[in-house]
């Protein structure tokens, strides 16, 4: 089994990046239309190019370790089936 990839560091912190100019090497900017402000330059993507590797790359369920955490997640994340604490089509906040 392939080893779990080490968590990637973000390429840069947003705050620092904003302070740098568009010519700063390693940092990408894109021009976009902003409503009422014309063309503005904003920070582009900050991820590293590449392909995630290893069977564990996309795994997220392992983040929940204890039984309590798992039950709590179910009651929250899967609340439509495992909790009364939700509003939606079958439990309206303001009854129709």
């Amino acid at each position: 089994m392939a080893k779990k990839a080490a968590p990637k560091k973000p390429a840069t912190q947003k705050k620092t990046a904003m302070a740098k100019s568009a010519t700063e090497p390693g940092i990408k900017y894109v021009k976009k239309d902003a409503p009422g402000r014309g063309e503005v330059e904003i920070l582009a993507e900050t991820y590293d190019n590449g392909l995630p590797s290893g069977e564990d790359a996309g795994r997220w369920r392992q983040k929940l370790e204890s039984r309590e955490d798992k039950l709590k997640y179910l009651q929250n994340g899967e609340r439509y089936w495992y909790s009364d604490d939700w509003f939606g089509s079958e439990k309206r906040k303001t009854p129709a």
Binding site: L51, E55, W60, R61, R67, L71, G77, Y80, S89, E90
Partner: protein, 656 residues
């Protein structure tokens, strides 16, 4: 060989290349057999009955003209069965076949599950405690300080009891939207037990029993719900607990995944019980050393059909190909062993294998093939069974001849989009939710959702309809979710990577995909995993804003290259769950206008979903989009909302 002839067979280059090789090697394949064996025009429209020894009775519609009432009266079998009865009986027997296949798969998983809980299945363990707990909460099983195995034993026994239950309602039906459950009760189609509904189809379709086509079709609906919300859902849920709930995983697809210098093992069929162990055995250092001792650099696994989708979703094992590529995989001359379990396995495989060096290995006592080696799967000794299979492949490797051609084509794909993962990706760990999806449907960035699933059919250009349909849907901002061979087809066309969003999707869908970091076409798994689509649709309903029932959602389903009875069962449970579902290639009730009309129109009044038939994939996509637009209109979300940014002054006004 003329370019046109190859292209008529498949849109996929690797398939074309190997079809040409098969012809040069004088190998008979499903492609060549489809050329020489035309479908029976009477049987293919459901007008042939062979349910008793007085028949077969063939009662075709008159050719090229409208049937007169007198002609219609005469169109009966010896027992007096009308064209309607015969077409409806044939149709629901297909549902019975499909529901039985999925459900028997589910039963097999439940049996293994009980064995694991009892500690009688070495090598297996409970991998997803969270999903185990979810089922315990759902079925009212005490959790407390009990061990996972104790909880699992109760869940396994309750699952097994679902098959033989005689009365009441199947347990997973309670997951459906409340309104949907009411519809099923009102229409008398709430399944009592899984096996019971299938057996009842076989009884009702026996000579001289149920002879009212509406009543026959109603039982078809009931059995199909027992499949989708019963047997298939049990298979998916228990497999997730045993083998892990799928999360995003990167892999590759197409016959180019075979390796010239490694032992190639293809796993083919539908049940992942043994293949899970084969994955482990292929990574065992002892096996790798053995492979090296025979001159190979390692062991390479690949999959075909839904066993492939199962091990892709959980381990990232590459996909070698779809149903119609199984024979061609052997034609590469590079497959050392093809290990098969159940469903969609061509009997021609051992004959083709003889022309090369491939060892075809059957593993299920339910599915033996003359000419194949049989190594029976036994859950109590699966580790050694898996090792025996891998060893047989390694032993075959030195016999590989010179007549080897591995096509270069492969594509990357991201798979692993289970309902749980979609929920997590959209909302995060602290408030997982379908809200962002619903909101983007409401604001019109995403027009709707389409499930495109099903098989390949040798009567249709391989993968053409899948790809044409899926591209048309995403171009029109419809998010596509897929399973089965249909999902593999999209992966082969490069539609299952995030980059596909900017290349193929409409602006709104592309924006959402880029923000969430998902492809515009999501791989949800194998054909039993169509149950995941049912749950995703239910989550969308429950989250709110898109109506009270699955039939309110701007959603549609399709199987553009269907061929199996399982596809008919799947289609019927989608219709019964409220989804407009369009099939391509051929339609099996065309011999009776009334039956076809009932399926295409009357079912909508009863279930909110209905069947349709449209062989042209672009036209079919347009019909799906038109249906999605109708639903948007009914929900009042058909007009793009003006997005107004409120400044402080406007806010004050609003509050005042």
């Amino acid at each position: 060989m003329a370019e046109d002839e190859k292209k008529n067979k498949s849109i996929d280059k690797a398939t074309q290349e190997l079809y040409e090789k098969a012809c040069a090697d004088e190998i008979s394949t499903s492609y060549s057999r489809a050329d020489s064996l035309k479908p029976c025009p009477i049987g293919s429209v459901g007008s042939c009955c062979k349910n008793c020894g007085m028949g077969p009775c063939r009662i075709p519609l008159p050719k090229g003209k409208e049937e007169t009432p007198e002609e219609k009266k005469k169109r009966r079998g010896i027992c007096g069965a009308t064209a309607e009865t015969i077409a409806a009986r044939n149709f629901i027997r297909m549902i019975a076949g499909g529901a039985a296949a999925h459900s028997d798969h589910g039963r097999g998983v439940a049996e293994l599950f009980v064995a694991v809980a009892k500690g009688e299945a070495p090598g297996y363990k409970i991998r997803d405690e969270q999903k185990l707990l979810a089922l315990a909460l759902e079925w009212g099983i005490d959790i407390g300080d009990r061990s996972n195995e104790e909880i699992a034993l109760e869940i396994g026994e309750m699952s097994l009891a679902e098959f033989g239950k005689q009365e009441g309602e199947i347990l997973f039906a309670k997951r459906a939207p409340l309104k949907r459950q009411e519809i099923w009760r009102e229409q008398g189609v709430m399944p009592r037990g899984i096996d019971r509904e299938i057996v009842e189809i076989m009884h009702r379709t026996h000579i001289g029993v149920d002879q009212e086509y509406q009543n026959l079709l109603t039982q078809g609906v009931r059995a199909s719900i027992a499949d989708g919300w019963g047997g298939s859902m049990i298979a998916t849920e228990l497999q997730d607990i045993l083998f892990g709930t799928p999360s995003p995983v990167l892999s590759e697809v197409n016959l180019g995944i075979l390796k010239e210098d490694e032992v190639n093992i293809i796993i083919h069929g539908h049940e992942p019980l043994l293949s899970e162990m084969i994955v482990a055995a292929s990574r065992d250092p002892e096996m790798i050393d053995l492979a090296k001792s025979k001159g190979a650099k390692g062991i390479n696994l690949g999959g075909i059909c839904c066993t492939a989708n199962e091990i892709l979703m959980r381990h990232g094992v590459p996909l070698a190909g779809t149903f119609l590529q199984q024979e061609l995989a052997l034609v590469t001359g590079a497959v050392d062993a093809m290990v098969v379990d159940v469903q969609c396995i061509m009997e021609s495989l051992p004959d083709i294998a003889q022309c090369y060096h491939t060892q075809v290995i059957t593993t299920s006592p339910k599915a033996k093939i003359k000419g194949a080696m049989h190594i029976e799967f036994n859950e109590h000794d699966a580790v050694n069974g898996a090792k025996a299979v891998v060893k047989a492949a390694i032993e075959a490797f030195p016999n590989r001849g010179k007549n080897v051609r591995i096509p270069q084509d492969t594509h990357n794909l991201i798979a692993g989009f289970s309902h749980e993962t979609i929920n997590y990706l959209l909302g995060g760990l602290f408030r997982a939710s379908y809200r962002p999806l619903n909101e983007n449907i409401i604001n019109g960035r995403i027009r709707g959702v389409a499930g495109v699933v099903g098989c390949n059919n040798a009567r249709w250009e391989h993968n053409q309809a899948h790809i044409a349909m899926v591209k048309e849907l995403i171009k029109n901002d419809v998010l596509v979710i897929q399973t089965g061979c249909s999902a593999m087809a999209s992966a082969m066309a490069g539609l299952m990577v995030p980059e596909a969003a900017s290349k193929y999707a409409g602006k709104g869908l592309a924006e959402v995909c880029e923000t969430v970091g998902i492809p515009p076409v999501l791989h949800m798994g194998s054909c039993v995993d169509n149950s995941r689509i049912l749950i995703a649709a239910t989550a969308m309903v429950k989250d709110g804003g898109l109506g009270d029932d699955i039939s309110d959602l701007p959603a549609a389903g399709a199987a553009p290259e269907w061929m199996s009875e399982k596809a008919i069962s799947i289609g019927q449970y989608f219709v019964a769950s409220g989804v407009y579902t369009v099939f391509g290639v051929t339609w099996p009730t065309q011999g009776s206008k009334e039956v076809t009309e009932y399926l295409f129109k009357d079912m909508e009044e009863k279930y909110g979903g209905m069947w349709d038939f449209e062989p042209d994939p672009i036209q079919a996509a347009h019909k799906m989009i038109a249906h999605i637009d109708e639903k948007r209109k009914a929900l009042g979300i058909d007009k793009a909302r003006e997005r107004v940014l409120y400044d402080m002054e406007m806010r004050r006004e609003l509050e005042g």
